[in-house]
Symmetry: C2
Subunit: 337 residues, 2 copies
DNA sequence: TTGAAAGCGCTAACAG
DNA sequence: CTGTTAGCGCTTTCAA
């Protein structure tokens, strides 16, 4: 049924080695033989069987990617980055979604291994990553990406959260805001990334006379969570003359803006709101959300690039790559005279 | 390095055939032998090499999925469906993004074939699908999904667009709207799906005395396109006392709502707007968008299911599966007394 | 119930 | 420059 290297060899009247050589350009082949092979390939519509090839070369040209949920825009964006870079180096992406379950992550990691992937990228949102330990033992290149939790002794790609948060706070101060509330996602785990953001925020405020920092911890970091915290936030805002609310995640900011809309509170006239992440909706929602742009696509791209480099025998022991962020000024924050 | 079936056989003191038999439960094995094998497997941490297995069984347990852009929420949702069903049947997903380029689609189709995928799902947004012809010739199960264009002589999964559009229009009429504008994405191609929507709309209006249908064709179907058409739409609205605008895509509706926001036109007070699709933003944006829920997840799931069924030798020649839609009533459309 | 052996389609020494 | 041959790790006859 399917045409194999043998068929090509027969038609071209050469040995299968010669065919292999022209396919892979691995060794010199006489022009005449080459031509005959190429013609035969074309005539038969021959495509090398990658499975057979993988078996002998031990190169599957596959990168396994385990994500929480591809339906999350920022994750989709990372996967885009991974895929596009992978493609450049002829790697394919084997995708699996854990929906946040650690056991599933682990199970998939093993599954990917048995499919002979050459590297694994784990995009997680959890704090306890048992999968990580397993993956480490596999002895293949791996990258850990987590927007919410640190895992410092693992190769990873992320951003400088202190700097990002600091930059945004300075911008708010520049706009004339004095009393600023930072909303962080509550977390007792000390590997939560929130602490960097809080520090960046507080230090920016402290560096400025006449400014006061307020902190609020909320539960979760979904749009819904952002909506639900609305009542509490507004109370704090009123009690303390707060003019700007800086949410540690875009989702919270968007949810909170929806709350404001529903409660007839005008953004940015009554209150300025900014977020963190620059997820897709941030630029679509009205008013458009002022935020920190986390380079999701680039994070994925760099992760893929690092995996492939390691695959090619690169030995550098770089643990964490930090990518630059950007402050995106939009209409959800206004100037205060 | 890696532990193979041989290692297991040696440790368990049986032949590799026996090991294979217990792994696959393919033939009876004596309890004692079985136990020894199982113990050996556990002790060595043996995982069968799927590549080797694929080579001999010709079953890769891989489904190839070619998408336009995984960053598109509705596509991500479909991929979720595909992946989850695939997973249930132990299939993995090989993902590739064409970014809308036909040549790339074709290239990927071939690539997937050489990776021995057992089926291909093509999620396209184009009208000219050369890739389709190629895929047909591969002689493996395939499904074609396209939200915008028909391709009737291909196995596909979609919805009944006439009914959906008809239902929405009737709802608008129920709300008391008399002059309704339907915005469709202009398209000369007669395989565009817009015609069904237009028919569904017009027929609903015609069935109702005192109602008048207006049609507007715009270019493209992105959020930006929806924004850009704002001026023209508002003119038509004003000239004809139109109270509701029914956009043939959520993206257009959202873009148009943003235009309204920026132009200080209140939705739904000044004008009711509804969309089609129920993309993620539809329920997040304020006001939330009244729309038709296209079951993206289910479309993906059904597609995967059909592929797998075919793989298992199912011969039914079902060409197109139609999935039910839902009318989602939200705040972007108001009642007119 | 078991093992020996062939072979899936390909690459990579090796010898010529 | 080319062909022969030995596997890659596994499944599957075929005999025993």
């Amino acid at each position: 049924m399917t045409v194999t290297i043998k068929d090509v060899a027969r038609l071209a009247e050469v040995s299968i080695s010669t065919v292999s050589r022209v396919i892979n350009n691995s060794k010199p082949v006489s022009p005449e033989a080459k031509k005959r092979v190429l013609d035969a390939i074309k005539e038969l519509g021959y495509k090398p069987n990658q499975v057979a090839r993988s078996l002998v070369t031990r190169k599957s040209n596959l990168i396994g990617v385990i994500v929480t949920d591809i339906g999350n825009h920022y994750i989709a964006e990372m996967v885009r980055g991974i895929e596009e870079i992978g493609r450049m180096y002829k790697y394919d992406i084997l995708l699996s979604s854990s929906y946040g379950d650690s056991d599933t992550e682990t199970k998939f990691a093993h599954l990917l291994m048995s499919k002979q992937v050459e590297g694994i990228i784990l995009i997680s949102e959890k704090n306890d990553d048992q999968a990580i330990d397993e993956i480490k033992n596999f002895n293949i290149p791996h990258i850990y990406i987590n927007k919410y939790y640190d895992n410092l002794n693992l190769p990873s790609v992320s951003i400088d959260n202190y700097e990002a948060s600091n930059k945004m706070t300075k911008y708010l101060i520049e706009l004339g805001h004095k009393n600023i509330l930072f909303v962080s996602a509550k977390d007792d785990k000390d590997n939560s990334i929130e602490k960097y953001k809080i520090d960046g925020f507080s230090n920016a405020i402290k560096a400025q006379n006449g400014c006061k920092d307020y902190l609020y911890s909320t539960t979760g970091f979904s749009i819904k969570d952002g909506y639900n915290m609305g009542d509490s936030i507004i109370n704090i805002v009123k009690e303390n003359d707060i003019t700007a609310v800086f949410c540690s995640q875009d989702e919270l900011a968007i949810g909170f803006m929806s709350y404001c809309y529903d409660s007839d509170i005008k953004v940015p006239n009554d209150i300025s709101i900014c977020g963190y992440g620059d997820i897709k909706i941030a630029s679509i929602y009205r008013p458009r959300l002022t935020t920190i742009k986390e380079p999701y696509y680039d994070i994925g791209a760099v992760a893929a690039r690092r995996i492939i480099k390691k695959t090619d025998g690169d030995e550098s022991e770089e643990e964490n790559t930090y990518l630059p962020i950007q402050l995106i000024k939009r209409e959800s924050c206004r100037e205060i005279k």
